[in-house]
Symmetry: C2
Subunit: 355 residues, 2 copies
């Protein structure tokens, strides 16, 4: 039997642990090393997950032949250099969302992916939730009819907790605040469900956070199909994760209890999807299969390194979701006037490569 696919986490914080647990729920992929600049953290991570070795430098990690791919969960503004270096060393790269903090960095990543041809995945895992998959099926098989309005909200209280010690506090490291940290998930979800976004009108506000970044953002998306979408994301309230779709035949309403997000093998059990047809005063629960988004996306990534799978969310999708974030911020500066996705992609040097 072939050796298991060898991956190595880079940046060993809370999210690296969530993903490592996802991997360890399966057996296709193995964590063979890990890297953080902090030696204590490396040691603790190795111990917690039973990883044979760790690397003292990123170069050492990338020189390790048993490491076929890296799993990057470092701050957003460090993504570009770490990704490019790993791709150029011949490794596959999985990076947590967003692909980068700026569109320029994201385009540099796209350049490196195209130049090296190495497998690259962005962790827009939410489209793998059972609710997302079932909504997509209802759209594709016509049960929803023609969609006119799609509304999504992802909010939590993190903006109220940010201190100057955290990178998310700073506008240059995490531009858009709640929009780049939370809203970007729905940017990907809505493009997954309804196809390409054409333009965005948005307002971003700093209301109750002490940080430099917005804690209240609302964006209206116009899809190329003509449908309208909405993303609301706040950082100053209890958690919300919802998607509502309105079609000519049915409505669908999805609601996820976000407190279970990190245990992705349990998340579906804490979510509900209900349908509503004409003249139905009661809503009908839609059965949701069980998925495990973190495990599934990392197994897909690992198998892609071996040429046995296609990556669903790569540089193009990650760049487009980030373009929706930055178009929102630019629109807010223009007092809500719509900003074309093609315009921000072109300005960042992506041309039509993510069209």
């Amino acid at each position: 039997m072939a050796e298991k696919i060898g991956l190595a986490p880079v940046g060993l914080g809370r999210w690296a642990k969530v993903l490592a647990r996802g991997i360890q729920r399966g057996d296709a992929v193995e964590l063979v090393s890990c890297f953080s600049r902090d030696a204590d953290r490396r040691r603790a991570f190795q111990e917690e997950f039973g990883i044979e070795r760790s690397a003292a430098t990123y170069e050492e990690l990338l020189a390790d032949e048993r490491v076929e791919g890296v799993i990057i969960t470092t701050p957003n503004d460090t993504h570009r250099d770490l990704i490019v270096q790993a791709l150029e060393a011949g490794k596959g790269v999985y990076v947590d969302k967003p692909i980068a903090h700026t569109l320029e960095d994201a385009v540099a990543v796209l350049d490196a992916v195209e130049a090296t041809g190495r497998p690259f995945a962005v962790g827009h895992s939410a489209r793998r939730l059972a609710g997302s998959r079932v909504m997509k099926a209802w759209i594709e098989d016509g049960r929803l009819g023609d969609v006119s309005l799609a509304e999504a909200n992802f909010s939590n209280e993190r903006g109220l907790e940010l201190t100057t010690e955290t990178w998310r506090y700073y506008a240059d490291r995490s531009p858009g605040g709640t929009m780049i940290q939370l809203g970007v998930h729905h940017a990907d979800n809505l493009e997954y469900l309804l196809g390409p976004v054409k333009s965005v009108s948005a307002h971003a506000r700093r209301l109750y956070t002490k940080a430099e970044v917005p804690d209240a953002v609302m964006a209206i998306l116009e899809f190329e199909s003509g449908a309208l979408g909405y993303i609301g994301c706040g950082w100053a309230s209890p958690g919300v994760y919802t998607i509502n779709l309105q079609g000519t035949k049915h409505n669908l309403r999805y609601d996820l209890d976000f407190t279970h997000w990190h245990e992705s093998h349990e998340a579906d059990a804490h979510s509900t999807l209900v349908s509503q047809g004409y003249g139905q005063s009661e809503r009908t629960p839609v059965e949701l299969p069980r998925t495990d988004m973190f495990r599934e996306q990392l197994e897909e990534f690992g198998r892609a390194i071996r040429g046995e799978a296609e990556i669903e969310v790569g540089a193009r999708e990650g760049l487009r979701a980030l373009a929706i974030v930055h178009a929102s911020l630019r629109s807010s500066e223009r007092d809500g006037q719509a900003v074309e996705i093609a315009e921000v992609l072109d300005a960042a040097g992506a041309g039509t490569r993510a069209a």
Copy 2:
């Protein structure tokens, strides 16, 4: 005992019946006459509601001393003339929402109300639903904390059913389509809950209706408080009526089964309000008292004619809700750029009278 307050419906369609049933659930107000240009319809209405007489012309109705106030449910573009004529005849006037179809007409109504000093009410009844009242109480007593995001949706399938026979089909009679017919309710609800709206960014689209008017509208509201609001209204899907509020202490989510809207003494029983605090994965149902919005607003109107009550929603509130509708349409023409409510009010000649 004093005679009951005498009111007379004008325009005897479906909505006049809904309001007449509301009145007949109480005993403060009595229907003493009625008017429609259609003699058969007058006769049938008299019979159904046991009304002693009817008027063959509007002038005859307004000359009737027993008629202390009129209840206008005619097409939106006929509101102005009927209202002004009744006010000038010394009658009180209740008009179904919206106050008028254009801001110019609404300002003419405001002028007439100010000139005559007669009682005038607009039927923005939705703010009287138990859910609205309880949400308002949570805001006022601090349980919600500071609100950052408020989202509302009111949608139904009417846009798919419109024919050239109905006035709502035409852009000059019902500008804004779903936004003036449905969204205007939430324009009033959100101002009631969160105070004055400063500006609106919106997109309005005709997608699946055959009518001349939009069947998909999304609007982002900026409140003077700094909070952001959202109104979604579609006319091409099963019915939706929701309001979500996100505060620094709690979220509230309100959901009304609109199929029971017209039976306003039952509507609260078909609505739910749930609260969510931090760390609460389960949502907590909030008890809703029973209200009867149509009965209550018409009894308030009647008592106001006798000087025994204050009208909650008058020309100012009706004009402001309509200004949010028209600011949305103007913003959509400007590709989403924010339009100030003060600007559209001023352009229509309201100056600062509705500020």
